[in-house]
Amino acid sequence: MKVLVGVKRVIDYNVRPRVKADGSGVDLANVKMSMNPFDEIAVEEAVRLKEKGVASEIVVVSVGPAKAVDTLRTALAMGADRGILVQTDEPVEPLAVAKLFHAIAQEEAPGLVILGKQAIDDDSNQTGQMLAALWGRGQGTFASAVAIEGDAVTVTREVDGGLETLKLSLPAVVTTDLRLNEPRFASLPNIMKARSKPVATKAPADFGVDITPRLKTLSVAEPAPRKAGVKVESVDALVEKLKELGVA
């Protein structure tokens, strides 16, 4: 079974995003970029499926700038087999990405598509769901466990009230949650090997997909700084304070 995995190049989770002075977006110049953490989990899950003999080939796909090839190489170093870079410098919205994945899924005919539940830059949490709808396949989102049995996949989902278990027939779309697995560190020899694994570079137009944004960003601003708290000496003072603020 072929597994298709999506990997996005995003601002590193350790970095404090800095809004550009003109409010047009987040400054990414020389900022550390990494693979979206949920996508790392997706790659890890695919590699584990391959190690178990369930998956036969792992194809990783990234939609983004030329630099996103680094992200693909990281996935290849973790154990994916080949990469596809859909190169664009335009901002990409979930619908455009879902359409591109749909086109690639039709070409590649994977048995399973694994995506992160969301990318930590725009936190949309939409791509997997949109892809499943466009493709007409089942979806198991927020997966904390994935098991393939024959031509079905059992997905344990993290939902508000606890855990939900779904059984989907394959092919299907799974999106990963944090607890699904602990991604491995890529070893140096594997990083070397990844440098010679094939990566195909495509343009959105190659798939006949129009990625023109449907949304317009008016402005980006930092959240207002939190006001310092006040310490009260006693319960009475607390009640007093709450009354003053009109909450008690």
Partner: protein
Amino acid sequence: MIDREEMHYDVVVVGGGPAGLSCAIRLKQFSPDLAVCVLEKGSEIGAHILSGAVVDPRALDELLPDWRDLDCPLAATPVTDNWHWVLGKGKHRALPHAIMPRFMSNEGCYTASLGNLCRWLAAQAEALGVEIFPGFPAAELLYDEAGALRGVRTGDMGLDREGNPRPDFQPGMDLLARYTVLAEGARGHLSKQAIARFDLARDCQPQIYGLGIKELWDIKPENHVPGRVIHTQGWPLSESGSWGGGFLYHQAEGQVALGFVTALDYKNPYVSPYEEFQRWKQHPSIRAIIEGGKRVAYGARVINEGGWQSVPHLAFPGGVLVGCAAGFVNVPRIKGSHTAMKSGMLAAEALAPAVAQDRRGDALEDYETALRSSWIADELKLVQNAQPMVAKFGGGLGTVLAGADMWARSLLGFGIARPMAHHSDAKATGRADLYKPIAYPKPDGVISFDRLTNVAFSATNHDEDEPCHLKLADPAVPVNVNLKLYAGPEARYCPAGVYEFLGEGAETRLQINAQNCVHCKTCDIKDPTGNITWVTPQGGEGPNYPNM
């Protein structure tokens, strides 16, 4: 026994700073077929580089003469305007240029982020076929039976706090080479071992350091003068009789890089280099520039201040020291990046023929000879008394004498004093009972900030569950010696708040918040009894500096 993989190279370079990258580039320019790799502990090249920086392009002109046409970030901002201020409380006096030697003028220099210059150098190196491995620290030196260095072992990944393998354990591997280049920068932890093992410091003065703490600010456009560089001396360190100074460089994109260097030979154990920096920003002359702006990044790193007389031997069996791992900083100019680059190039010029002759494991004396007769030597000998003069005679008279000495050397070819001596920074620390605590002002959250808020702006990170990378030789020393005699200086000198004394009386203990560490190396230097050893944590951890 862990089964470790091996890879073989002609040359392994430890450290992707200006020295290591220039060495790798020069090697490939000489012999395109050499197998060369660069190991870098940061998550990417530049992630751990913290500098000013005003860069003298002399070495870059020699390495890549057409750099100005190759989209090099250094080209964006030439130095246009150069000031030297002597700060008093609440006022400043500009030193007239006429009394400064010419080489202090920064004419022909550029101001930029050294981290970005390194990112650019890395791209040049990769284009020449250098293999660069960010996220892989060299954790250990490997020796052959004859005792020569034969390569390095990269750090293990995925060990838990007690040092046991976790499910994601990934053992480090052995990178074996004909020659290993130690380009770790100031106070490299493997360089320190090599210097001790081969007794490389036998003929030189002890190395001494300053701690540089830096912030990057977006400032109001009306306050920004691209290319203006300002250096200060005097206040606030003058109050505690310590030495050091500030810098403020107007760089590209409406940003200023500002920082403060405190010489680590300060005596009063109550001095907090971090608080001195915060206080310095409140000086009306500095405040006026940054007011209304926004701090966008923070970090810290030590800088060598020993000068020429502290340069150790550079070649030993199987390896060489380049850049600040040896220490080629021109102290009065606070510049070490051009000499770091040049030393890497000179090492390459000795390494390439040695590899071509199929040699390995010997000491490349040719490199040391070439370096000691290069322009690095000329430049550093000219200023070698500046720091000791200041240390001996204090910031006022010392600066004047140091200036006079540099004048004499640059004009007349001789100095007024012989090379002067240093004492180690750790030993300089005075007993707490001889000094008074310093009451630093509280941060206002606008111009000055508390330490932990600032640390978040270094984007540093370390795994919660890994062995602590700050090793205590004797766990009783922090409380029994440091706290008792020196009032626990580690709680103050660490610019990242890693060291914290908790509890009271007999319950007092030192907590090490290793996760906050920004890899500046101060604790490895300033601990009064040398009880703390800095080792590399898991690869890719530590700060993630953007344009530092």
